[in-house]
């Protein structure tokens, strides 16, 4: 469904992605893990057209992907960005409406809206609150909801669990699975590598702009190196995460 060949991105002199290739099959959940500054967000942003790449190609559904952000959304790819980037000046409801900006099927929109309110009841409660004053976690939920409103085929999630309470993290991952079960393909960037790997079909490890490892998620999760670097080996004194 999504195929990236040899992608390179520069920020001025900084070489953020150095020839990244990756493949996402229809209906899969694919995870990307890597430490701070590895280039995960850069990768996601290049797919979305926010960051312009110098070299490499991106194919989507067999065709070359446009480089213009709004056309990319139109073709069915939607990003839930890192740090939420909700519209702080709009109300919760308006934010969600913005999510469905490119859609015109009123019925479908209403249906999705209700589903999102089922998933995140707090959003329904705060329908008219200005989004900028929501708490961090509420904003993250709003960002997810807004992303879903565009009814995309491929969803790019950049650290969706960021700043969420443990209970909610579980919910979010449940929701990700649910969305996936509805037939949507998901490319997931997560710091919470354990969780990410546990729900993914396939995973890539990104280090300093290079893919250093890839494989089936349930294999990677057992990999010693990965355990050490990303899963927090000492992380045994407490059960969660």
């Amino acid at each position: 469904m999504l195929k990236i060949n040899n992608l390179s991105v520069f920020y001025g002199g900084i070489h953020a992605l150095k020839g990244v290739s990756l493949n996402v099959e229809q209906g899969q959940i694919v995870s990307i893990i890597g430490s701070n500054g590895a280039g995960k967000s850069t990768l996601i942003n290049s797919i979305s057209g926010i960051v312009k790449y110098k070299e490499g190609e991106i194919f989507y559904k067999g065709e070359k992907l446009s480089k213009q952000a709004h056309k990319i959304v139109k073709s069915g790819i939607c990003q839930v960005p890192e740090g939420r980037i909700i519209f702080a000046n709009l109300t919760v409801m308006e934010n969600l409406r913005m999510g469905s900006f490119l859609r015109s099927d009123t019925n479908g929109i209403d249906k999705d809206l209700n589903r999102i309110f089922d998933l995140f009841p707090i959003l329904k409660e705060r329908e008219k609150q200005v989004a900028g004053t929501l708490s961090g976690g509420e904003q993250q939920m709003l960002a997810m909801g807004r992303g879903l409103m565009s009814n995309p085929d491929l969803i790019l999630l950049d650290e969706p669990s960021l700043g969420l309470a443990p209970l909610l993290i579980n919910t979010i991952f449940d929701i990700i699975i649910e969305i996936n079960n509805m037939g949507k393909t998901i490319l997931l960037v997560e710091q919470n590598a354990f969780k990410a790997l546990s729900i993914a079909d396939y995973a890539y490890v990104l280090e300093q702009g290079i893919i250093t490892m890839e494989g089936n998620a349930n294999e990677l999760i057992k990999n010693e190196k990965i355990k050490e670097a990303y899963l927090g080996k000492k992380n045994v004194d407490f059960i969660s995460v």
Partner: protein, 260 residues
Amino acid sequence: MNVLSLNNVTKRFGGLTAVDNVSFHIEQGEIFGLIGPNGAGKTTIFNLITAIYSITEGEIYFNDKKLQRKKPYEIANMGVTRTFQNIRLFKKLTAYENVLTACHKSADYNIFSSIMRIGKFKLQERYLKNKTDGLLKLMGLWDYKDIVASNLPYGLQRKLEIARALALDPKLLLLDEPAAGMNPEETIQLMELIKEIRNKFDLTVLIIEHHMDLIMGVCDRIFVLNFGIPLALGTPKEIQENKKVIEAYLGKEEKTYAED
């Protein structure tokens, strides 16, 4: 002695009561956790302590001095400083400049001596530079010192915020989700770092986090908030076993999807 005391603090936004009659006391040298579901009012409490919001009801004391009607900078000068949940660095300045700026309180030369460049100025400026170097090294940011803050990866930006806060030689440090955006390994490292900082700088720390391994691993006591209302207070062990906390916040047990 109590470093920080909240007595029956309430904050309302229009009809919404974000913080509802909350009281707690933090002792000197403690690492005190503040947890609770999203929207519980944790950040609001930080904003009340640092006077970014005005308090609706109740009182906050720092070292027995009342904090009401003080300006944010006055509170900072008393020794209370913080980091932000939505990072607020000086975006276009380098990591080094961010910290150096925050060191300003360690010098007291006035504007005329900076024009005359007299001895005191030079001496103090050198001190500020050394201090900045030390802080950057301590936080593991030395290699990034010349990078503009907004270009740093998310995790390092958080560390830089902590470094900047430490530059004030605070007595009480408020950390709002310092580990957000860090992977578990980095989170553990941060935990060690917080302990180290506490000991080295003789600090009291109030910390908000959703990473339970960090909270449980580092806090002496934890206060749990739910919908603005106090839910529990206790040691990590007590909190982990508290039914109400599990139900409202922690969740029953670890779910695994590997088998799905």
